[in-house]
């Protein structure tokens, strides 16, 4: 069973991820308006009516407020062409902030208040939402709202920003959704645990953003345990569950025999990754360049026992691509990942770290010397700042092995 509450978003994670300047206390920067919000809101279409017809990517949003009484609903754009990209972060890493905000502003969110356990006995609306989520391609939907959606953009901690929203009156799926056989199989198998379902879909190459939505809409897990999972929890649960399976796999592989360094930057963020010739360990440092502040979480070979308390969602979003890379090259290694956030950043969700890392791994440099490798990380602040904060680096340099003492 997925312990979904494990993956909830804490107050500190929320605060850290709100605004680089005011941390969510609006207008502390001294300006009379918030430039981020204004920039976002100019993109909003002004002529949204109380009924919207369009091709849902497919997409849904499940809120966490009021848990276990939550809001679920479809995201429907007033367009029927090229909508898939609007809810697929896998395709965003080379897009501009403006384009991404544009995708999100186009999606109109319906809200229906239900209990998380209603995933088991869905009413007509929730059943339609679940059916929609299973679709492999954008699916035409008519969404009717109680009133005209309010024109605003909201940013969240882990999920991509969300656009206009209104209480949902009714939803009609206007065509037969196309569903892959494997999705059908996993969803209808009520003996399959949620984590097995996630792994099965992942190994069948179903995009991660879709797996997250399928988990979120209460379509995975054994019998009575199925429930709606808030989108933000579902994002991190999916990252963690896939990573745990990959970690087990890579522990059987030979250790890397040199250092490797990977860098990539986009969207006012950058990632800097170093792989060590070692057994598995992982550390992520999130660095807010403007305020010089660090958050650090790590795990040694024993694996992560508790929850990543400082980075939370960002830890799991950056650990998964590292394990994916190790699985691809069939090697075991230790990893230090530095996630830098620049002042012109706006909150887009943790997918950016996942996708920046995946992109970074396309191009690496090899080193035999640790100091040369560390220099090649090409960081914004002096190297010793990062080194001081690192537990895994200290452990890598000083931890002896029992095999050193073999008689």
């Amino acid at each position: 069973m997925v312990q979904e509450k494990l993956y909830s978003v804490s107050y500190s994670e929320k605060k850290r991820n709100l605004c680089p300047l005011c941390k969510g206390y609006k207008k502390l920067c001294g300006k009379s308006y918030c430039p981020i919000l204004v920039r976002a809101e100019t993109i909003l279409s002004r002529d949204i009516k109380d009924t919207v017809f369009g091709a849902s990517p497919p997409a849904i949003f499940v809120g966490s407020a009021g848990y276990p009484k939550i809001t679920v609903g479809p995201l429907v754009p007033p367009l029927t062409e090229d909508t898939e990209i609007m809810d697929m972060p896998e395709l965003w890493v080379n897009k501009s902030l403006q384009e991404i905000i544009g995708y999100r502003a186009s999606l109109i969110r319906g809200k229906s208040r239900v209990s998380v356990t209603s995933a088991l006995n869905p009413d007509r609306t929730t059943a339609q939402i679940q059916e929609l989520v299973m679709a492999s391609t954008p699916t035409d939907v008519e969404a009717m709202f109680e009133k005209k959606p309010n024109l605003s953009i909201t940013f969240s901690t882990r999920a991509p920003p969300s656009g206009p929203s209104a209480l949902l009156k009714r939803i009609n799926i206007a065509e037969n959704p196309k569903v892959e056989r494997i999705v059908d199989k996993v969803v209808y198998d009520t003996d399959m645990k949620a984590d097995e379902g996630i792994i099965t879909l992942y190994s069948s190459k179903i995009p991660q953003s879709r797996i997250t939505k399928i988990l979120s809409s209460g379509l995975l897990g054994t019998g009575k345990r199925r429930r709606f999972v808030p989108t933000e929890w579902s994002i991190t649960a999916t990252d963690d569950i896939i990573a745990k399976a990959l970690r087990r796999e890579i522990l059987d592989y030979r250790e890397l025999d040199h250092y490797e360094v990977f860098n990539f930057s986009a969207l006012a963020n950058s990632v800097h990754i170093i792989l060590f010739p070692s057994s598995w360990f992982f550390e992520a440092q999130e660095v807010w360049v403007a305020s010089n502040s660090f958050g650090v979480d790590y795990e040694l070979a024993l694996g992560k026992k508790g929850y990543a308390k400082e980075l939370e969602g960002a830890y799991y979003a950056s650990r998964l691509p590292v394990l994916e890379h190790l699985s691809n090259i069939r090697r075991q290694a230790g990893a230090l990942v530095i996630l830098e956030v620049y002042p012109d950043w706006i909150p887009l969700g943790v997918w950016r770290f996942r996708e920046l890392c995946r992109e970074a791994f396309k191009n690496g440099k090899s080193f035999d010397d640790l100091n040369e490798a560390l220099e090649a990380l090409d960081l914004s602040l002096p190297l010793n700042r990062y080194v001081e904060k690192s537990t895994v680096l200290k452990s890598f340099l000083t931890q002896k092995k029992l095999t050193d003492y073999r008689a």
Binding site: S279, A301, L302, K394, T398, K400, T403
Partner: protein, 244 residues
């Protein structure tokens, strides 16, 4: 061939003691009991667990090797209470471990033991041995964790000391009288990762008596008995070197 009946508690304890080091493990089952040796993926920590047949109500075994996924085993025994009777049998035909708790039967597939080699325990000579109550040691480890990621253990002729931290410091010193016993030829001092030590502490229960063997820049061996003296456990942990 293997069949054992006993309290769920026995299997709970196996999972507790071993899973802090590793999740997949080989049970070496012989007529003189259960023997488990496991090392963590980084070869930094090891556990050795021996359970005598007397721990069980009924025990009947010829040499058998079972590859067990401890997470899976944990999910089964979680269904029983510590005092419930449990019956574990190896079904050779289906190559599964059959566990019965009350009228609940769970057949568990096993891991391939051919990929799990027998481990050699390093042959170590320790100049110092300290005996104390687990609770005293646990307290020190917990305190150390709040200031550092490693701890220094020092044994001298008439004291045993645990210290951690540089700016923020923790120190816990036991005189010979405050310990159950102390044997120390030469001053022995080694550094250990608190990630590993605190993980091992989760395998130790309050009230258990620990024998701690240390040396100079040398591994530590922590021994204790559990299951009413019918099982013996030893954890072994490699040291960290001084940071230049």
């Amino acid at each position: 061939m293997f069949e054992a009946k006993g309290k769920v508690e026995i299997f709970k304890r196996i999972v507790e003691v071993v899973s802090v080091i590793v999740n997949e493990v080989k049970f070496n089952i012989k007529d003189d009991g259960f023997h488990i040796k496991a090392v963590d993926p980084a070869h930094v920590a090891m556990v050795e667990l021996n359970i005598a047949p007397q721990a069980f109500n009924e025990y009947n075994a010829e040499d058998t090797e079972l590859g067990v996924d401890l997470d899976k085993m944990e999910s089964i025994i979680r269904l029983g209470k510590g005092n419930d009777e449990m019956d574990a049998t190896y079904d050779e035909d289906s190559e599964r471990l059959v566990i019965r708790i009350g009228n609940l039967v769970r057949k568990m597939t096993l891991l391939d033991v051919s990929t799990m080699p027998d481990l050699k325990i390093p042959n170590l000579q320790f100049p110092a041995k300290v005996e104390l109550l687990a609770d005293d040691f646990l307290l020190g480890i917990r305190a150390a964790q709040s200031v550092s990621d490693y701890v220094v253990l020092t044994a001298e002729k008439d004291s045993f000391e645990l210290s951690a931290g540089t700016q923020e410091e923790i120190n816990q010193k036991f005189s010979k009288e405050q310990l159950l016993s102390l044997e120390c030829k030469d001053k022995s001092r080694s550094l250990f990762s608190l990630d590993y030590l605190s993980s091992m502490m989760k395998g130790i229960r309050s009230g258990e008596k620990l024998a701690i063997f240390i040396g100079n820049d040398y591994p530590v061996r922590i021994e204790f008995e559990t299951l009413d003296g019918n099982a013996s456990v030893a954890y072994l942990l490699a040291p960290r070197t001084e940071i230049e």
